[in-house]
Symmetry: C2
């Protein structure tokens, strides 16, 4: 079994490799990759060794080849179907985000409780009632749920998501999710970054 | 001078204290705070010692008092004026985000290059031309810039932000910002979280 910490780092390697490609780089030494991420080259080689042989050590790794391999390993190569709970300000921005398609993710269904939105289409995707979530998630084989509902409605949504068999959740609310075992959630929160920036701008 | 790493942890303490308040907690031991954040109680006490005495060790810290003190220390108590570059999908979502006001942040001006948007109002805030940024930022005493423009336009925006005297940047694009000294940027990126969730949902 591959440790979660290794998988997390694979995502960092992918981000760094994408940056190198945007700078027209073709080869990178494990030491340079390590320095740019504040890691050791031993750690990088150890992480990659879980998955077989990559690139030759002397000249370094082939950037495009390594990126493609990491993509396959992480399973992001396949088509990832998402659903979105909450068709408000943030939900609509996420529906319009071109970054999802680029990385093999697509929002297949929206769920909301607002009667003015149910049955309508937003960015070409249909908005269903929250009561239809279980059936729609199963029919469309959706694997990941995005939560963009008000904080106070998170508990009722969480129950529906868990009952529908979804194991992965991307949470945009400020609520800390209490989850049973076997379900993974990641929260997106930029207010702590803003507070750090605020401190920095006041002391400069 | 207080290390940046300490300031970053203050933000984590604040987030954890807010969570405790939502669970109606009034007191917390430094050990419990440390456990919930994967730190040591020595680290927490050392961080807080930069700023004077807080709470008494035996009974633990007063949660509300500590949160209020940390708010003052981090300078988030004062009114933080932000500006937003890019009035698109994401920009509009950020304009509608109630979390800013709650933490003492407000978006004071929007800058865009789209002639259909310049001069109009979005969520009650005026959209200016990018060419007016320097003058508007100075006049309104804006301290922090949010970047929500397409990746390929980041370089020209960055130059304008730096010339306008802003020292703190919240970056929502996928571009890595090359900055001169004395300017701090923090990037928000949830695609690495999605990739981790994708891996998890495929292996379950
Ligand atoms: N707007 C942003 O930029 C932003 C940024 C970060 C985090 N957030 C967080 O994202 C969440 C949504 O923010 P927003 O600005 O889009 O709010 P919003 O009020 O614009 O949208 C909320 C949507 O959720 C729907 N909803 C309410 N209860 C529901 C339920 N039980 N099931 C399904 N849908 C339900 C509403 O009908 C509405 O369409 C909030 O928790 C907020 O803190 C927003
Ligand atoms: N939509 C999302 O949910 C989301 C999520 C994460 C990150 N992002 C990132 O945020 C950025 C914006 O995404 P979006 O979906 O809002 O795109 P968008 O195309 O809807 O909006 C972009 C806006 O920027 C304006 N613009 C273009 N060039 C400009 C310039 N030189 N100066 C000022 N304004 C300029 C456009 O006129 C438009 O109003 C992108 O970099 C995207 O990768 C978006």
């Amino acid at each position: 079994k591959i440790p979660n910490a290794t998988i997390k780092r694979l995502s960092l390697y992918r981000k760094q490799l994408r940056r190198l490609i945007s700078e027209d780089r073709e080869v990178v030494q494990s030491q340079e990759l390590a320095d740019s991420l504040g890691l050791t080259s031993t750690q990088i080689r150890k992480d990659l060794s879980y998955f077989g042989k990559f690139g030759c050590r002397k000249k370094g790794y082939d950037v495009n080849l390594l990126l493609a391999n990491l993509r396959k390993i992480m399973g992001v190569a396949t088509d990832n179907k998402l659903c979105l709970f909450g068709c408000g300000n943030l939900g609509n921005a996420l529906l319009g985000y071109k970054g999802f398609e680029q990385r093999g993710f697509s929002i297949e269904a929206i769920f909301d409780t607002d009667l003015n939105k149910i049955g309508k289409f937003f960015h070409g995707k249909r908005c269903y009632s929250v009561n239809q979530a279980k059936e729609v998630i199963k029919r469309k084989n959706i694997k990941i749920a995005i939560i963009a509902v008000p904080d106070e409605t998170v508990d009722e949504i969480l129950e529906i998501i868990i009952l529908s068999g979804i194991k992965s959740i991307l949470n945009f609310t400020q609520r800390h999710l209490q989850l049973p075992g076997g379900i993974m959630a990641r929260s997106v929160d930029f207010t702590d970054k803003l507070e750090l920036l605020s401190y920095f701008s006041h002391t400069k």
